[in-house]
Point group: C3
Chain length 104, copies 3
């Protein structure tokens, strides 16, 4: 299983955004031949001023934490490929809406 926890400001995503972003992340894995149900996405709303980078509050920041079962991603090349596709998949929902973000 892979688990994607998306920590976000409460108003960052509409219900439609959430669904489309989850679909988009799922597509990264199905394109690699993994089954749909492999991908869990959880949106965790984080209240204002509860999000810090370098000690500074960030209210337009998205933090995504990806957890793979170790065995399934031991190949560094596959991992790199996934991260690249991932960044592309999330871009319309995050980067193009002017949020900063991190994935790891």
């Amino acid at each position: 299983m892979s688990l994607h926890r998306i920590y976000h400001p409460p108003d960052a995503f509409s219900a439609k955004d959430k669904r489309e972003l989850a679909e988009s992340i799922t597509a990264v894995y199905t394109a690699l031949g993994l089954p749909e149900f492999y991908v869990d996405v959880i949106f965790v709303a984080i209240e204002k001023d509860s999000f810090f980078v370098g000690g500074e509050a960030k209210n337009k920041f998205i933090r995504i934490v990806i957890q793979h079962l170790a065995i399934q991603l031991e190949n560094a090349q596959i991992k790199k490929t996934i991260i690249e596709k991932y960044e592309k998949a999330i871009s319309p929902f995050i980067k193009e809406k002017d949020y900063d973000w991190e994935v790891c």
Copy 2:
């Protein structure tokens, strides 16, 4: 330490359910000779339509993320035993109430 984060729909568990589920998870470890205080359980309520499996919103889904200090579970057999007992421990609170769930 082991940490059990239980992501759940806001109305999935009563206060009593939470306490009993936490006790039940703790018992998995004490039965193996580990001290009670080894087990932390945190319930994180996730709002409606913020939980996706395979790109589809799931509003009757429980996601449990278990984190063990690596050193304490390097033995694969112990890990398997724990997961089996774990599934049994959580069943009355989750499976038997018709929630889907995942642990890993």
Copy 3:
């Protein structure tokens, strides 16, 4: 990147506390020569009676989960140093306010 998720009772920290605690955690890393932006801190408020240690509800407990990119902390001595400095950094916000806590 390092990610610090701080699970806390809703009223544990003021906005000022959060900022100062985040600064204090960040300083642990900058003192080791790591860049400020290396440190993400997320505060996740956990509602009453949703936090258990050893099966018992704890309403004055802080749980911090630190996630480092593996490669950056493979050196056990550095890790130990960070944890020691970390405990010192969080103390005024947690220990000295009579909260129990765990970091790992």
